[in-house]
């Protein structure tokens, strides 16, 4: 393996971990409510921008980051309560327009509270690169990979071992049956939005020191997170992680070896290819639709 290849692999893994977090957010909301939340990318933006804002106000990272994540989770809750819940049972097109409307609204709000400038967040632990087999790795990349891994493990534990997590899974399998078994389905929905918003915000905070953050950073990251979720199989947690990593590496490799002009198109082409030829994704359940 050449040093260059290792370099692309490491960069791809870092970016892929971010896509995986965003994809997990899509999957959690989709499982709980069958809604694709087009405002998912805005949580990423809120995480990054709010942290920059708190940090600029002199709040240390240890407080600024939880505050930013909490702010995003609050926005997620509000989105569920004021935009998705009132349209319960509406058609797919209606829900799509509502969540897109929410994303545009949030982006507009961000330009009012903050601005339209590019911001960069100071890395969590310096920016002295670590040399690894001829390739260099930023300490921030280790943060991205470490935190993402921890989150994936925590989510696996949450959905596999805790009562609340199982209640969420039960709701996604059969809403009515879950309700009859005594699960408060509305709370599960709210929790799904808050959890997925928090995941998006964490992704936005982790990537902000490497890539810039700005009011419109959520559009592309949201789209790529969705592409990752589709690639892995919508609704599958493991699929979201695999999809994110595969997409991140594919994107970095093609940018490095072929051309970087169409780097952002790779995710979209991959998504279209999966939708056309493998609609249930790499790890998704093969399902048939009832008429």
């Amino acid at each position: 393996m050449s040093a260059q290849f290792v370099q692309f692999l490491l960069t791809g893994l870092t970016v892929g971990a971010i896509y995986a977090l965003v994809a997990l957010g899509f999957s959690i909301i989709y499982n709980a409510s069958q809604v694709i939340n087009f405002a998912q990318g805005e949580f990423v933006m809120i995480g990054g921008m709010a942290t920059v804002w708190f940090a600029a106000a002199g709040v240390p990272y240890a407080a600024a980051i939880p505050l930013a994540v909490a702010a995003a989770a609050a926005v997620g809750l509000a989105l569920e309560k004021f935009a998705v819940e009132p349209a319960r049972g509406a058609s797919v097109v209606t829900l799509i327009i509502i969540t897109i409307g929410a994303s545009i609204f949030l982006r507009g709000l961000a330009t009012l509270i903050w601005d339209k400038q590019l911001h960069v967040l100071k890395p969590f632990s310096g920016d002295t690169p670590i040399v690894l087999g001829g390739a260099t790795l930023l300490p921030q990349s280790l943060w991205v990979l470490g935190v993402s891994l921890a989150i994936v493990l925590a989510l696996a534990w949450f959905f596999g071992r805790t009562l609340l997590g199982k209640a969420m899974l039960a709701t996604s399998n059969n809403r009515l049956a879950a309700q009859l078994a005594g699960i408060r389905v509305r709370h599960v929905l709210a929790l799904a939005f808050a959890l997925s918003a928090a995941l998006g915000a964490i992704a936005g905070i982790l990537i902000a020191p490497i890539a810039f953050t700005s009011y419109d950073v959520g559009v592309m990251l949201g789209l790529k997170g969705f592409a990752a979720a589709i690639l892995g199989g919508m609704g599958s947690g493991a699929g979201a992680v695999v999809g994110g990593i595969v997409l991140g590496i594919a994107e970095t490799m093609s940018a490095g070896y072929i051309s970087s002009a169409y780097k952002d198109a790779i995710a979209l082409l991959a998504m279209l290819a999966v939708l056309f030829f493998l609609p249930s994704g790499l790890l998704g359940r093969r399902g048939t639709e009832r008429v």
């Binding site: 327009i97 897109i100 609204f105 330009t111 939708l275």
Partner: protein
Amino acid sequence: MAARFATPRAGGMAALAALIALLPLGLRNDYFYDVAILVGLNAIVCVGLNLLVGYAGQISLGHAGFFGIGAYGSAILATRYGWPPLAAMLAATLAAAAIAFAVGRPILRLRGHYLAMATLALGVIVYMVISTEDRFTGGPDGMTVAPLAIGGWALRDPRLWYWVVGALLLAAVWFALNLIDSPTGRALRALHGSEVAAEVVGVDATRHKVMVFVVSAVYASIAGSLNAHFSGFITPAKVTFLHSIELVTMVVFGGMASTFGAVVGAAALTTLPQVLTPLKDYEMMVLGAVMMGTMIFMPRGVVPSLQALLTRRRDAAAAAAAPAPRPGDGQ
């Protein structure tokens, strides 16, 4: 019904024609004409998009892509290669139709969210190509476009453009209304209701969906070409995802499955930013709030909701005037 117009369709066409004819009385300067022309062009796109979204029930979040293919196809052929603008426009329209036809079959197999994301991806890919291939398109800075010339005579005066766009809008509406009333239109509505049921009674769902997708792409492409020639300058801003969203919002705001609703939606949301110019900072928030509010409180859109209200009122009035009011119809 008979007391009002022969049919709502003829009445609507007459009302639209009258509105287009009388509107110039209120257009005080070139700026007003510019806005009116923009409304007309957006309305043409929306009438086409409404066939797809409102009647066939297939969402597209990528129609700015077809608008862009029309605009840039026309611009590049007419300006860089010196084609006659009408020929360039025709070629661009054919290109948009061919692309829509080629991707239509695999894309329209998808449903709901997947269809939304796939069309979105298609639109964004067109945007990326346009802003990257700067040798042809001028990249993000845009390019100048030759005016619409027929023979040696160039169409430049906004007052003339107004009548051209007005006539084309009427033609677009007329064609859409005829399509809706044809067997094809009934097939489209059938597959909106239930695709399986439609196939059971013999409707070739895929063929009809692809056809209406191509028709809506042609509408968008023609409007794109006209927009490029009219403004003399085109940038990728007209091809963004946001523009696709604005187009869909116009359709659902005016009212899905209502051709005149699409025109009303285009008019409302095109003039809104002009009215909001002093509040430029709030423009995005207002657009987002309008989208959410319409969908939550008036999911059928403005025109169908008003129509339902008027019908209820008239029924109530008729019931009050009649000697024996029908039960349950009182004020």
